[in-house]
Amino acid sequence: MIAESMYQELILEHYKHPQGRGLREPYDAEVHHVNPTCGDEITLRVKLGDGGKVEDVSYDGQGCSISQAAASVLYDLATGSTARESLSVVDEFTRLMQGRGQVEPDEDVLGDAVAFAGVAKFPARVKCALLAWMAYKDAVVRSQ
């Protein structure tokens, strides 16, 4: 697999061994997002604690490896952080995805999520990568 590959080991790893998958209780908000162009869908729950701490992100869904791995990476990044912090990661991830391959990703902010940089060149895939992240943003807003 070549260097610029969209399929970084990390993405495949997350796809095959998704972190935090499954819907759990308790939760403050649950959302269901669908990508109508390709049928990918996700149900996602958020539980916030004191000081806006993200106590749990639980989810279930179906779709391609990109959309599934993106949910798993999101879980890793969001849980343990605060809602505010995680939303700024979502913003940076969105900026990267919508940058059509011309945005330099900020690795410090994105962590493992930089593995998705290659996706940004394929507009048809951007929505797959964003599906869980947009659902998360939506759920956090509804939780607050």
């Binding site: 070549i2 610029e4 399929y7 495949l12 796809y15 162009t37 390709c38 049928g39 048809a124």
Partner: protein, 420 residues
């Protein structure tokens, strides 16, 4: 009797991109011609030469370059007319793509500016399409139904991927004003039986439009022999450039239709409060037309004609036979579309059990440089019909080889390993 044949190795040399190396040292294996075809040097150079040495606006110019450019543009119309057997060159309207051609006809109905009863439309009238259509042959008719209050109806598709004609007589009836269906499906590869649908349309006085975007590039097509009323196709899928499509229509119908886009070139005389219109085809060509694109399309038609559409068709048939055989042996592969060669073209869509087509396509590209299309191919209702969100589609053209299909098969095995 020998079958027409073509020298694929010689042909491949005409397409510069086919010898390109992709980033990472991957070769290019282009199996996405159903989406858009590659271009031979002959087309590219004809465009370059025109832009560099003969370009000017057409029609209205009274100078040497204007004459040259007009000759090239109108000459392209002659060539396209001959290529599809149009009874008259004036029946060839250049549009920006097949989608515009389809919309142009849809906008002719229920238009208060049009007087001809065949194009009047309102509640109670019916429009018939099919479940296997490209969005470009669905959405314009949805718009028409919304504008006029007419009802949109459709043919179903059988499990084998054929047009379901069982309800033909009820579906196409005295209320039907127009039937618009694909000549060849861009997903299933199915070539639809025009004659039967046409006969029924004639019986009830309905018009018939064919979306020939996927047939004109791949088969000898004669619009007069087909007998339909309108035929749409598009330059970029037939080794021509983007930016140009074609509407063929019976002269008498085109003349009876109201104009669509208004502006320069489509008029006869303009006053501030009214206008009269140019005869066809110019009536439907508002503004500066796709000049250099027409030059490219003419070169494309010359290129295909020199090879012979019979030979192109025979070559693709061979590739399709090879592909159906080889893909059939992949475990977990489900073909969406006819499994036999009768009435089908070189487009093969399928699913791989447990693996999302997006992943199939991207690994094929990433690892092997194999370009296929994945998704719903602008035919979402067809995919809904088969209960799947997406398929992987390999589509063949005159420059493809059986080796490339073998590479695809190898690639699919690899995909199964990666995601297994």
């Amino acid at each position: 009797m020998s079958l027409p044949s073509l020298d694929v190795e010689r042909i491949r040399k005409d397409f510069p991109v086919l010898s390109r190396e992709l980033p990472g040292g991957r070769p290019l294996i282009y199996l996405d011609s159903g989406n858009s075809s590659q271009k031979p040097t002959q087309v590219i150079e004809a465009m370059r030469d025109h832009l560099a040495m003969h370009y000017s606006n057409v029609g209205r110019a009274h100078h040497a370059l204007g004459a040259e450019s007009t000759e090239a543009y109108e000459g392209a119309r002659d060539k396209v007319a001959a290529f599809v057997g149009a009874p008259s060159r004036d029946e060839i309207v250049f549009t920006k793509n097949a989608s515009e051609a389809l919309n142009l006809v849809a906008y002719a109905f229920g238009n208060p500016m049009g007087g001809d009863p065949r194009f009047q439309m309102g509640p109670g009238d019916e429009i018939v399409v099919s479940e296997m259509e490209h969005h470009s042959n669905i959405v314009p008719w949805q718009f028409l139904a919304q504008r006029t209050g007419a009802t949109l109806r459709w043919f179903g598709v059988t499990d084998e991927g054929r047009l379901d004609l069982s309800g033909l007589h009820e579906l196409v009836n005295e209320r039907t004003k127009i039937v618009s269906i694909a000549h060849q499906s861009n997903v299933l590869g199915t070539v639809n039986p025009v004659a039967g649908v046409l006969a029924r349309a004639r019986e009830v006085g309905a018009l018939l439009m064919l979306d020939a975007s996927q047939s004109v590039p791949h088969h000898p097509v004669d619009v007069a022999a087909l007998g339909a009323d309108f035929v749409a196709f598009t330059g970029h899928k037939m080794v021509g450039p983007s930016g140009i499509g074609v509407l063929w229509g019976r002269g008498e119908l085109l003349s009876a239709m109201p104009p669509f886009l208004g502006g320069g070139e489509m008029i006869e005389a303009v006053w501030m409060d009214r206008s009269t219109f140019a005869p066809i085809p110019h009536k439907f060509e508002a503004g500066t037309p796709p000049i250099v694109e027409a030059v490219g399309l003419a070169a494309a038609v010359d290129y295909l004609s020199a090879i012979g559409m019979d030979a192109v068709e025979a070559h693709e048939r061979e590739l399709t036979a090879h592909a159906l055989g080889a893909l059939g042996e992949i475990p977990g592969l489900r073909l969406i579309g006819p499994g036999d060669l009768a009435d089908r073209g070189g487009t093969v869509a399928f699913t791989l059990e447990g693996i999302h087509p997006h992943d199939v396509g991207q690994i094929l590209d990433d690892v092997f440089g194999i370009a296929v299309r994945v998704g719903h191919h602008c035919a979402r209702p067809l995919h809904l019909r088969f209960g799947i969100p997406a398929t992987t589609r390999a589509s063949f053209y005159l420059y493809n080889t059986t080796d490339e299909i073998d590479a695809l098969v190898k690639g699919l095995h690899h995909v199964q390993k990666v995601f297994g």
